[in-house]
């Protein structure tokens, strides 16, 4: 199943397949969100936004609208 990171629920894992925003993608890549990487949604702030994910061994936070620019594939 494919969708965006914003659709995941806490505890779910997915694999990054691409980005839809060029400007954000550079920052996300630099932070280690590479296509092919498996991530896990670990926390949601109150009101569901921002979110935190586990990526290559550390925790990264981002807003929901930013998460929506990351295309993912769930198993």
């Amino acid at each position: 199943m494919s969708g965006t990171l914003a659709d995941l629920k806490v505890g779910e894992q997915a694999e990054i397949i691409g980005f839809t925003d060029e400007l954000l993608s550079l920052k996300l890549l630099e932070m280690g969100c590479l296509p092919g990487t498996v991530i896990e949604l670990t926390h949601q702030a109150p009101f569901g936004d921002p979110i935190a994910i586990k990526v290559s061994g550390y925790t990264l936070s981002m807003r929901k609208e930013e998460a929506a620019t990351i295309q993912v594939k769930t198993k």
Partner: protein
């Protein structure tokens, strides 16, 4: 000094760069300024061998050399410009071994800029606990540089690092000339022709980041834009592809140099301490409660615990003054020294315990990694008001002092969010307002009364003023958000670092620096104002002051000598330059309930509000019961009578009107100067001054008219 080899420390935030800096340089550190930017420059001397030293420069933490916010710009301005006075002879890239690939990205960029580089692998133990074993010898061979394993916090591995640095300084490993992602040779040739010979990757950095680099003139920037057009070069897509390319290469290297035990044993991922703690700190309900609890503790410390050292300072200054008054001849100059200067300096010193406590808490929250969690849970709320999760830190520090608070907005990437945060931060009640609040609340709120028999009313009033400042800041931010209709992408992609125990040495240093800056900045202004005010209150236009005594005596022939002296002193103050200023603005401040004496205090407070109490004591000691040595400023103000009503001047209406005025008014030159420096335009400090002062005037007017 300048002959020492320069070593730059570079690394991701939280990789252990500052710990390593402390381990290398110990107490041989110095905090200065970078030329042209108001950013603390941390340098230190590292004794490589007896008689062989190196200068170490600690640069801000970054994830890549492409800057996303103002504090990150500094790094390319130094590393991309060999003519920069701080350009290093070599770099140590500090890498968190538990997140090797991401940390190596920055390393590879620095090395490609042509700077001889050593890789310092930190937190190898953390990586091993997570099941990753790094073969650093193999890594060194693959990357063709020296690698040293260190434990920055414990100071282990420094000797190995020293050998690696010595070797690198001697051999100056040739940098990799190939670009990570090739571009046309004619583009590089064009850059070389127009801007001189440079390392190919550095040329590309110039081409892509010329707007952020201070070394280029306007004409040179336009030249770069033209080159981009001519060669159809797209910076954004180059950077993106370059990053992917670098990661591909690094992945292969990491694959060869790191053994993943988890994969071999098929072990489930380890639940770390950080994961467990985040269950509480990031909990949708519990997270807020914990944050509120921490805030409560912080205020408790600032207002209750800090009271003891503050009383001690207060008593010490008073004793010193009494002593000086005893041994020095009673003259105007002694008055200036004791009531003016020393009282003024005492007024600054008395804030030191509170500021130290505040910075203790704030640096503790930052050190442990908790501050990022606060940003995380507050972001959504703050965004509704045009702010940002990262605005929490400036707003919290604003309770101590707006100057460092405004400087801490540099980490906010979005210009609009940053600007709004800068504009509203001074509305937070800073510690300089505290003595004014204390004096005025004591005048207008009855001391003994409590609410429901448990809350002290004076304490509640004080807390209310802090809340008022916060709500006004949020509200103003919301209004500015409506006015500033800029569509700018602000983002919140940030690392939530692992929790760490605080490094007390590091904290002590940061508290010391903040307090020192505050004492000297505020101290300078207060000393200057005290002298100016003393002169203005002691001299008047023409010979008006010398004739006062005669005319008062003629008008009141029956008065006794002490009464006459009081009358003369009061009349002299009124006839002085300060008195003229006070009378001049009286019509403007009359609707707020203020007389010309308060007018003088208001005028002097516009340089720095903490001057208020000092000014009041100067005015009332000059114009009031001079013989009453023991009267505190509070009692002198309480005794002041409104000539029109015959009742005490400082009634509830005037007291609250003044409190509100001081809560909202922009009365701090240092803050305005900081806003100017941080926004690089006079427009914003001017707007800040106008909107806050208007807000103060209107609110004080409403309060006075309602209560009078």
């Amino acid at each position: 000094m300048s002959k020492l080899p320069k070593i730059a420390l570079i690394g991701n935030p939280n990789a252990g760069k500052s710990s390593l800096f402390n381990s290398l340089t110990g107490l041989n550190q110095k905090t200065g300024n970078f030329p042209g930017v108001t950013m603390d420059k941390h340098t230190g001397i590292w004794e490589l061998e007896p008689n062989r030293k190196a200068e170490v420069l600690d640069l801000p933490g970054i994830y890549s050399i492409y800057p996303k916010s103002i504090d990150e710009e500094l790094v390319i301005n130094i590393l991309g410009n060999p003519a920069h006075p701080d350009y290093p002879d070599m770099a140590i890239v500090v890498a968190d071994a538990s997140n090797l690939k991401r940390n190596l990205l920055l390393f590879s960029q620095v090395r490609d800029l042509g700077i001889p580089t050593v890789l310092a692998l930190n937190m190898v133990d953390v990586a091993e606990n997570q099941g990753y074993v790094i073969n650093s010898i193999k890594l060194a061979r693959e990357l063709n540089i020296e690698v040293a394993e260190i434990n920055a916090k414990k100071g282990i591995g420094i000797n190995g690092l020293r050998l690696a640095v010595e070797k690198t300084l001697k051999n100056r490993y040739a940098s990799n000339d190939a670009l990570p992602l090739p571009v046309g040779d004619d583009l590089l040739a064009d850059i070389t022709a127009q801007y001189g010979e440079a390392d190919p990757y550095r040329s590309l950095l110039w081409l892509m980041e010329h707007d952020r680099m201070k070394m280029f003139s306007e004409a040179q920037r336009i030249g770069f834009d033209r080159l981009q057009d001519k060669h159809h070069f797209n910076s954004k897509s180059y950077k993106t592809s370059e990053t992917v390319k670098r990661y591909e290469a690094l992945s292969e290297i990491v694959e060869r140099c790191v053994i993943n035990l988890n994969r071999q044993w098929d072990a489930p991922p380890v639940k770390t301490m950080t994961d467990r703690l985040d269950k509480f700190f990031l909990h949708p309900v519990g997270g807020y409660l914990i944050f509120l609890g921490i805030l409560f503790l912080m205020f408790q410390a600032v207002f209750t615990w800090a009271a003891y050292p503050m009383d001690a300072i207060d008593g010490g200054v008073a004793q010193l003054n009494d002593y000086l008054k005893e041994i020095l001849p009673a003259s105007a100059l002694t008055g200036l020294l004791t009531d003016g200067l020393i009282a003024g300096i005492g007024g600054v010193l008395i804030f030191v315990p509170q500021i130290a406590f505040l910075f203790f808490f704030i640096s503790m929250l930052e050190e442990t990694g908790y501050m990022s969690r606060v940003m995380f849970i507050m972001d959504k709320l703050m965004r509704r008001f045009g702010l940002n999760g990262k605005s929490v830190v400036p707003l919290m520090s604003g309770v101590a002092c707006a100057v460092p608070a405004i400087m801490s907005t540099r980490s906010i990437g979005s210009w609009k969010d940053r600007l709004i945060t800068i504009m509203v931060t001074p509305l937070m009640s800073c510690s300089a307002r505290l003595p004014i609040y204390t004096v005025l609340i004591a005048l207008v709120v009855p001391e003994k009364s409590t609410l429901f028999g448990m809350f002290n009313l004076q304490g509640l009033a004080l807390f209310g003023l802090y809340l008022l400042g916060f709500f006004m800041a949020i509200l103003s931010a919301w209004v500015m958000k409506q006015l500033l209709q800029v569509k700018e992408k602000s983002y919140f992609i940030m690392e939530l670092p692992t929790y760490k125990g605080p490094r007390f040495k590091h904290m002590a240093l940061s508290i010391y620096n903040s307090v020192k800056a505050f004492v000297f900045e505020a101290g300078k202004i207060i000393v200057a104002i005290s002298i100016v005010l003393w002169v203005l209150a002691s001299y008047g236009p023409g010979d008006s002051l010398s004739t006062v005594e005669q005319s008062v005596r003629q008008a009141n022939p029956t008065l006794s000598a002490p009464e006459l002296a009081n009358k003369v002193a009061a009349e002299k103050l009124e006839q002085s330059y300060a008195g003229h200023f006070g009378h001049f603005i009286e019509p403007v401040i009359k609707p707020l309930g203020y007389d010309w004496k308060i007018g003088i205090a208001l005028i002097t407070s516009f340089a720095a509000r903490e001057v208020f109490v000092g000014t009041m004591s100067t005015i009332y000691s000059l114009g009031g019961e001079v013989d009453d040595e023991n009267a505190t400023i509070k009692n002198r103000m309480r005794a002041e009578i409104n000539p029109e009503t015959g009742k005490p001047l400082y009634d509830a209406a005037l007291g609250f009107s003044l409190l509100i005025f001081y809560a909202f008014a922009m009365q701090c030159m240092s803050t305005l100067a900081t806003t100017y420096r941080e926004t690089k335009s006079w427009k914003y400090p001017a707007i800040q001054f106008l909107y806050m002062t208007t807000l103060a005037y209107l609110s004080a007017f409403i309060v006075y008219q309602l209560l009078a």
